[in-house]
């Protein structure tokens, strides 16, 4: 526990609160890399995922590519890319690595979401006269939103954990404490940095959990008695014993007037 105490002491020491190496600055960098990579992953993967889900085509290819992308070792890829583009463009290399990591998860969430929609619902929407775009945007996308958020959530968590590597190519971020800590054997610094990353990941996960909860709660809310509206005389007389489906239209109109 001593190490933890030292880590906290290091974390809250005045030196860590100011300047270019302040924890908050590093946290900002870390978040920025994560956000950029998640947004780019989403921009690439959501349209492709929706297309796969809507048309039902190309799923095999997508699964194969996703598997391959997931199998790529991030550190190795980052090293090669940085050498290729030059250290000056390390941001580019790092972003590519993070995006490669994020795309498969978002892609899976996007097409799983669209695929999860009951085919009868899509059929009915089409038969009503919705265009394919309307089916996608008004039926498939909203119903599949929960699964898409799940995909974004796991992409974000993987990226936020892997963004540690940004420091490896001199880009800062919270990983700098770990990489520098290893070099100078400053364990309290390594642990302090790691703790901040853990907290950040948990907070982001919480934000996604909250968003998912909010959108699922907005639908299929359990029926509260108040939602039924004030029962009219016809309803109180006949409605209690009868199922609503068997109630005559006249009674229903009276009841709601």
């Amino acid at each position: 526990m001593n190490l933890f105490r030292e880590a906290f002491a290091w974390l809250f020491a005045p030196e860590q609160q100011v300047g270019a190496d302040a924890v908050l600055v590093r946290l900002g960098e870390h978040l920025l890399y994560t956000a950029i990579a998640v947004v780019i992953s989403a921009v690439i993967a959501i349209p492709i995922g929706y297309w796969i889900g809507h048309t039902g085509r190309g799923k095999q290819v997508a699964v194969a590519c996703s598997g391959a992308a997931r199998a790529l070792p991030s550190l190795g890829l980052l090293t090669i890319l940085t050498l290729l583009v030059g250290v000056g463009d390390a941001v580019l290399a790092a972003t590519v690595v993070f995006v490669v990591l994020g795309v498969p998860a978002v892609l899976a969430g996007a097409y799983a979401g669209v695929e999860s929609v009951d085919p009868d619902v899509v059929d009915a929407a089409r038969a009503m006269g919705m265009t394919e775009w309307q089916i996608l945007l008004r039926v498939e996308a909203p119903i599949g939103l929960g699964l898409l958020l799940g995909g974004l959530r796991s992409a974000t968590l993987q990226i936020v954990a892997t963004a540690v590597l940004a420091a490896y190519v001199g880009l800062g971020g919270l990983g700098i404490y770990i990489i520098r800590g290893i070099a100078i054997r400053a364990y309290e610094q390594m642990l302090g940095g790691a703790l901040v990353i853990v907290v950040l990941a948990l907070v982001l996960d919480g934000v996604f959990a909250l968003a998912t909860w909010l959108i699922t709660r907005a639908r299929r809310t359990p029926v509260r008695p108040g939602d039924l509206g004030g029962p009219g005389p016809a309803e109180t007389a006949a409605g209690t014993a009868q199922d609503q489906t068997s109630r005559s239209p006249a009674a229903a109109t009276e009841g709601s007037s």
Partner: protein
Amino acid sequence: MIEFDRVAKRFPDGTEAVREITLTVPSRRTTVLVGSSGSGKTTLLRMVNRMVEPSSGQVRIDDEDVATLNPVTLRRRIGYVLQGGGLLPHRRVLDNIVTVLRLNGVRRRSAEERGLELMDTVGLDRALARRYPGQLSGGQQQRVGVARALAVDPNILLMDEPFGAVDPIVRTDLQNELLRLQSTLDKTVLFVTHDIEEAFILGDQVVILKPGGVIAQQGTPAEILADPADDFVATFIGAERGQRALRVEDHNGTQVVVDGRGRPAGVLAEGVPRQ
């Protein structure tokens, strides 16, 4: 009037769903397509709103070949009800009903007003307007489906086994409701079912289809009962099992009607049938 002119449908896997069917669906009447699974009845129905394209032949609505019409505009003027309702689970009941009105650019206020009126029409309590489909019973969902199909006041109503997923009591209820609706709305209804009883209850014209998409017989329920075209029809409507051959027996002065096996089907009422 809907005309099927020598339409056939062969699916890419080689299945022949419909084989050269010519059929006229008269306006303002209910025509029921009835047959077991694989008889092509749903395929035939879905050709009307171009959800299925015939491999050959022509489908005409009021002398207009549907193949020349834009599918989206065509579908928006045809009501479609399917089994289970096919309601959008993420939208409230009222929003479901007014979907097509809103797609057509009707303002929310007036669309919702119309939606509430439709809920009255199909016998749904207005208090259900703000519920989600998942919170309704099967029968209520089916009514929402009918209200949604009626929203744009279409001339044609396509119904694909709409009452197949509800229990027998609710089913009878919905059938009666449809008859009541049809007596006031006068739509051209094309109705698909596998239940011959339902076909005889609802249909002005009944079309019995054989597996492989061939018409076995068409006519009014009475015509079909009076003169089944072949053994297939006789079996299908239950004539050969004696279910349809009723005779009267006298039980202490009351005329009891029994079927071929002697099971009572009802009593003979006197005078004018009650309505």
